[in-house]
């Protein structure tokens, strides 16, 4: 007798949806390998964090209600981001402190929402992955995942099982990269200094690739690395764990360079 597979609603996050669909497909692959079925509610937009951290509470609540209604039918909600996952898990209930009915719904959703890698390891008991990656990588702990959701050991544990991969710990891995959502636009000079300190640390590890669990931080680090002319690639950790580490890295041109052909390169084959 086989147990019914848990249904996972993938909260793909707006950044992954728009800029790095590979991470979404990597997440789907990993969640399916963890014995779940994955659905992608089409009406999803964003978790509301940009509004929340800009002090626009009403906008945030409107968006949060939308997310709650869309995702509450699932057994689990999984996001390939500690930041967006943290928003739903750690902040949604607070938003509705004065609305008991919504507060309860927010709490229910929060309880079943997880950041991708911690979901695989802590909830689904995944201990290893079947993946190969050639070379040395270093790992940056994104702030929300680390401090709000306690994501630290889980990615390291799974990375240890990737054949061919050597993890070089990043000194100051727990220090912010300077992205901070709208912060990087409001205070670009401070943000630049922070990310430059980060890329210097990354470079000093000697690793050819930096991994992290949040696309915002990754785009920030990748953008600075390439501007500085450092030949270091940036990828979401899920890509490597799903065996997709041979695709063009963040900010790299696709093999063909043409958007038409790139379309085919992004999605894995249907039959897989």
């Amino acid at each position: 007798m086989t147990e019914k597979k848990p249904r996972v609603g993938l909260f793909v996050t707006c950044l992954v949806d728009l800029f790095r669909p590979s991470v979404g497909f990597a997440a789907v692959t990993l969640i399916e390998r963890a014995g779940c079925t994955v659905e992608v509610p089409e009406a999803q937009t964003c978790c509301g964090q940009p509004a929340y951290n800009s002090g626009a509470r009403q906008h945030t609540k409107d968006i949060a209600r939308q997310v709650i209604a869309l995702f509450e039918p699932f057994d689990y909600v999984v996001a390939p981001s500690g930041s967006c996952g943290g928003m739903i898990k750690a902040h949604y209930p607070d938003l509705f402190a004065d609305e008991p009915a919504w507060h309860k719904r927010a709490e229910n959703l929060a309880a079943k929402t997880h950041e991708l890698i911690s979901f695989l390891v802590d909830v689904r008991g995944m201990k290893s992955v079947d993946a190969h990656f050639d070379g040395a990588v270093t790992y940056h702990d994104s702030c929300s995942g680390l401090r709000e959701l306690k994501v630290h050991d889980q990615p390291r544990q799974l990375l240890a099982s990737v054949t061919g991969l050597a993890l070089k710990e990043l000194p100051g891995a727990h220090i912010c990269c300077g992205f901070g959502g709208t912060f990087c636009i409001k205070y670009p000079e401070i943000s630049t200094r922070m990310v430059s300190d980060k890329t210097a640390d990354i470079s000093a590890t000697g690793a050819g690739t930096v991994l992290a669990g949040d696309l915002g931080c990754l785009m920030n680090m990748a953008g600075r690395l390439s501007r500085e002319g450092r030949p270091i690639k940036a990828r979401h950790v899920a890509e490597v764990l799903a065996g997709m580490g041979d695709r063009p890295a963040i900010g790299e041109p696709s093999v063909s360079g043409s958007p038409q052909q790139r379309r085919g390169a992004v999605a894995p084959a249907k039959s897989r």
Binding site: D17, L18, F19, P21, S22, G24, F25, V28, V40, E42, Q44, T45, G48, P50, A51, Y52, S54, G55, A56, R57, H59, D62, I63, C143, S144, R147, E148, C176, G180, T182, F183, I185, K186, Y187, P188, I190, S191, T192, R193, M194, M219, N220, A222, G223, R224, R227, P248, I250, G251, E252, P253, S254, G257, S258, P259, R262, R263, A265, A267, K270
Partner: protein
């Protein structure tokens, strides 16, 4: 002091370009946080101690009137005087009156951030009383005519070479290269000042309601000389510094030193209760406590009341990635770093301080290391909410936010708009990244902007699985 926090952005830019400052900050960065970590790793009950500390503070704040009343009674019973000062102006007046009554022409001072709130040095100078800073860091910045840039290490922004030059200029001795020689020289110059001072002014780390004592922590012993040698001892403290008992103060002291400098205990921890008593070998003849409110009672019971748990350990700024690259002066008022960002708008107004709660990535390290677990990112976000409601943020930013939120609340329209937008970006993003993008110059001035891989995930997903 007069705030200039509205200038944060420009001040931060200047700080980032200041090579001497950056040199000082780079050595500051790892020091405090590493020492703190080592200290708490040696104390398994640290988390429990935090719980105890928070409970003490919460209880005291809930009964602040009672404990302040008891503290004042005990001070008076010991022969001292308490001056209730609602405003900085009241505080300055009370201090001046005490100094004039005792004919003090100079006053030695140990480190006090409350004195900074009062702008005390300028005020005393304007009234022909010479303030003499005795904390080494404060002494340095007094010579340099600057303000503290950190609440524990006021001269942390200065390099050793700058201090050496400053001492040479003022002491007219010889150029020193070793820090220990500079300390020795400063002590030599300060020693006669202690003895000649008409009054000694100190801060207080805690006020103990049970006994009417003040508790002072230093690593230099300068506060002890400041309070014991002159005829008058004036204590500057804000109202939230009171704790019920000596036992409570001891609990908080264990948290304070570890969180601040990674020490198990400050080098000197001194309790003072009233003036010199019969049979005492030494001590001041008069003992005055300036109990300053300066807006704290308005914070009490409101949505920012958790800031009043602060024990001024500076762990938040020691671990702040923004503070550690721009330094304390950029914040433009007495308290820099995350605690300043949460506290300052209460005291100097959000209009003036509006940048401070925004100048955070919400990385959460401040809250993680705060011994009192003050939810600093939450408090900063509350300020951002007020800023948004009062429309204090730049109109362009609000407009962009509203437009984005409008789309985010309309999934079908959002899907269409993102499909078109990402499609356009993809066409131009053949190189994989953009070196310049309209409306995103803040990013692209120093960073490439990664181009989208292709169509959105949802579009690709529908094609692959739909």
């Amino acid at each position: 002091m007069e705030p200039h926090s509205l200038d944060f952005k420009e001040a931060a830019k200047r700080a980032l370009a200041d090579t001497e400052l950056q040199k000082s900050l780079s050595s500051f960065k790892a020091g405090f946080s590493l020492k703190r970590l080592e200290a708490i790793q040696k104390l398994p009950e640290f988390e429990g101690l935090r719980d105890e500390g928070i409970a003490i503070k919460q209880h005291t704040l809930a009964h602040l009137d009672f404990y302040l009343g008891r503290f004042a009674e005990k001070v008076e019973a010991a022969g001292g005087t308490v001056h209730w000062c609602p405003t900085p102006d009241d505080g300055r007046r009370a201090i001046l009156e005490i100094l004039r009554t005792h004919g003090a022409k100079t006053a030695t001072k140990s480190k006090s951030m409350v004195a900074e709130e009062l702008g005390l040095n300028e005020f005393l100078e304007a009234n022909d009383i010479e303030p003499v800073e005795t904390d080494l860091g404060e002494y340095i910045i007094q010579l340099a005519h600057e303000r503290p840039s950190h609440i524990l290490a006021p001269a942390v922004h200065k390099t050793k070479e700058q201090v050496s030059d400053l001492f040479f200029e003022h002491h007219k001795t010889r150029h020193l290269t070793e820090a220990s020689d500079m300390v020795a020289e400063a002590r030599q110059f300060l020693r006669p000042r202690y003895l000649a001072a008409g009054a000694g002014i100190t801060g207080a780390n805690f006020l103990v309601a049970e006994t009417g004592s003040i508790v002072l922590v230093t690593n230099e012993g300068n506060a002890e000389l400041t309070q014991i040698l002159p005829k008058v001892h004036i204590v500057l403290a804000t109202v939230e510094k009171v704790v019920p008992t000596l036992e409570d103060a001891a609990t908080l002291l264990r948290l304070l030193a570890r969180s601040a400098t990674g020490q198990e205990f400050g080098t000197y921890t001194t309790l003072a209760t009233g003036p010199k008593q019969i049979g005492d070998q030494d001590g001041p003849e008069a003992f005055h406590v300036i109990l300053l409110d300066n807006g704290r009672s308005k914070i009490l019971g409101g949505e920012f009341s958790e800031v009043l748990r602060c024990i001024k350990c500076a762990a938040c700024m020691n671990h702040c990635p923004v503070y550690s690259v721009v330094g304390g002066h950029a914040y433009g008022w007495v308290y820099p770093g995350p605690i300043g960002a949460a506290l300052a708008p209460n005291l100097i107004g959000l209009e003036e301080a509006r940048h401070l709660p925004n100048a955070s990535t919400f990385c959460g390290r401040c809250e993680a290391v705060c011994p009192m677990r003050i939810p600093l990112p939450k408090l900063m976000r509350q300020w951002r909410e007020q800023e948004h409601e009062k429309k204090l943020s730049p109109p362009r930013f609000r407009l962009g936010l509203d437009a984005w939120a409008y789309l985010a609340k309309r999934p079908a329209l959002y899907a269409l708009a993102t499909k078109l937008g990402i499609g356009a970006l993809s066409i131009f993003g053949g190189a994989g990244r953009f070196a310049a993008l309209p409306l995103a110059s803040g990013w692209t001035a120093t960073r490439d902007f990664p181009a989208p891989e292709g169509p959105t995930f949802r579009t690709a997903w529908k094609k692959a699985r739909g």
